[in-house]
Amino acid sequence: MTDVQRRTFLKSSAVALGATMLGVSFRASAAAPKARVLVVGGGFGGTIAAKYLRMADPAIRVTLIEKDSAFLSCAMSNEVLSGERDLKDLTFGYRGLARRGIAVVQDEIREIDPAGHFVRGASGSRYNYDKLVLSPGVSFRWDAIEGLSEEVAERFPHAWKAGPQTTKLRQQLLAMEDGGVFIIVAPPNPFRCPPGPYERAAQVAHYFQRHKPKSKILILDAKDAFSKQGLFQAGWKEHYGEMIEWVSGAAGGIVEAIDPKTGTLIGQVEEFQGQVINPIPPQKAGTLAESAGLTDASGWCPVDQRTFASARHPDIHVIGDACIAGAMPKSGYAANSQGKVCAAAIVAALNGAAAPEPSYVNTCYSLIAPEHGISVAGVYALEGDRIVDIEGAGGLSPSDADARTRAVEARFAHDWFRNITADMFT
């Protein structure tokens, strides 16, 4: 470590311990910082926005505020359900970001004052900003399925935010008798991780095949089509025969209610019963975005897709699952890409330059079996005021790929996870 690096490291460690007290002089050597940027939410989007802001302009003071002490990745959490991975492999701390000179604070932001340019946390602390970046993720529309609530989800876990919910679902699958039925209720578009429910079916089938081979998996879907559909359906059949059944919305898959006493799912046409029930609720932008008035009638946040500045308050940027980002899906890689575009736009604005021409990418892998990976990629540009797919680029793994290619893609899926988390946390 050079002296400068060591000084920054020591300084930032101190800030991480007591950031709210050290608001006065973050950089010992420099005078007042050029500007203060607050990033709220330390997931796929927020960590990247904070890090790339810091990398592009060290004269900006960057503070990352996250309610949890560590990050738990939803990506790869379906492998926890199959027993291929431990939840602790999905857990990441924020020390690497602190080492980069980002003040990392653990607090839950409850209130945003756009006019006063400050936010307030559950701790009572007030944080001032020149620019605010929100990466609040999703929240659940509990009222969309009658009988479903946060309390009911304690018994019928969604496992759509990794952590205790994932562990609970895993335990229920472990406790289930052979010959049981596992039901996934898949949400309507748009929602976090479009291929997730279908990868989950494959991962649980992988577990059932080895331990409970007489069991079935039923996917009750609000939709009539889903992400990577052809690749999933072919892969399910190849590895798990008839174990997985998908019921489209049109075929009666729409679930209107759940009876919390019996776990009966009430569809439009018939009722369904299973031994393990996994209702993934319909979604909207994270609670903070909604309470701050940043959402529109859709429940998501309209933004300037060049800069991710909110259409409601221009000094607040919204990235990741919560924002409306044209052709981009609600994925971890999309949030990563948006975090970088947003950081570049903020750096430009704080330095009196025009917002740069943006470039965005999405890459998303799903694991059907340990040696069977599939992917979708998207390359995007801004056209007018909308993020659009660049024609001729991106798309799916070929439907006729050989076993070697599938195995190579499975390894790339794990490397994707290694690298995207290293991009976030180191």
Partner: protein
């Protein structure tokens, strides 16, 4: 070499196009940062099959990325992604990564395979991949300290298509290597930090 003419022609074209339009042009860092989600921040990969690309030769990166785009070089996902960029943008991406420092893997070397790998290297690779794969140019990548997972994959890929491997001389040299020899060779280059 093969790509020199193409590169200089492109460089001329790029200079002209930059002069013509600044607005609407996506900067090298804007383009290249989208790669980091898979290839690591500034192209320093966290492993294993995903190669590090930061610090690689400009011309080498340009030719490989272009070959992905046209399909000359087979890939799982890179072809789909590179089709989204113009030649000028691919040049900008290559130039960005070429300017980054090379970061070798921190993986501890395995003694046995490395010895075998060094023998193969000295016998049939060294004439192009000099100094244990440290030397690089637009025909030959930086391999010393590269992830063995990627090197193994690239060598297997080349072996699978033999004479059709680009460049052809690579295909001819790896065609008869066993799995164990490929593994040893990959481990050798990985250990040459």
């Amino acid at each position: 070499m093969r790509h020199r003419t193409r590169l200089s022609m492109l460089a001329l074209g790029l200079t002209a196009s930059l002069a013509a339009s600044a607005a609407g042009v996506r900067s090298p860092s804007m383009l290249a940062n989208t790669c980091a989600g898979c290839h690591g921040t500034n192209g320093a990969s966290a492993g294993e099959q995903m190669p590090s690309i930061g610090g690689m030769d400009n011309g080498y990166l340009f030719s490989v990325l272009s070959d992905y785009k046209t399909g000359v070089r087979r890939s799982t996902i890179m072809g789909r992604i590179m089709k989204g960029y113009s030649d000028q943008e691919i040049w900008a991406i290559a130039a960005f990564f070429a300017e980054q420092p090379w970061v070798s893997t921190d993986r501890v070397a395995l003694a046995g395979p490395i010895h075998v790998g060094r023998d193969i290297h000295e016998r049939q690779c060294e004439s192009c991949h000099e100094d244990g794969g440290r030397e690089q140019n637009d025909d030959s990548p930086h391999m010393a300290g590269q992830w063995s997972g990627y090197l193994r994959y690239a060598l297997e890929e080349c072996r699978a298509i033999g004479r059709r491997c680009s460049p052809r001389k690579m295909g001819l040299r790896v065609m008869d290597l066993s799995d164990e020899e490929i593994e040893a060779l990959a481990r050798f280059y990985e250990s040459e930090k």
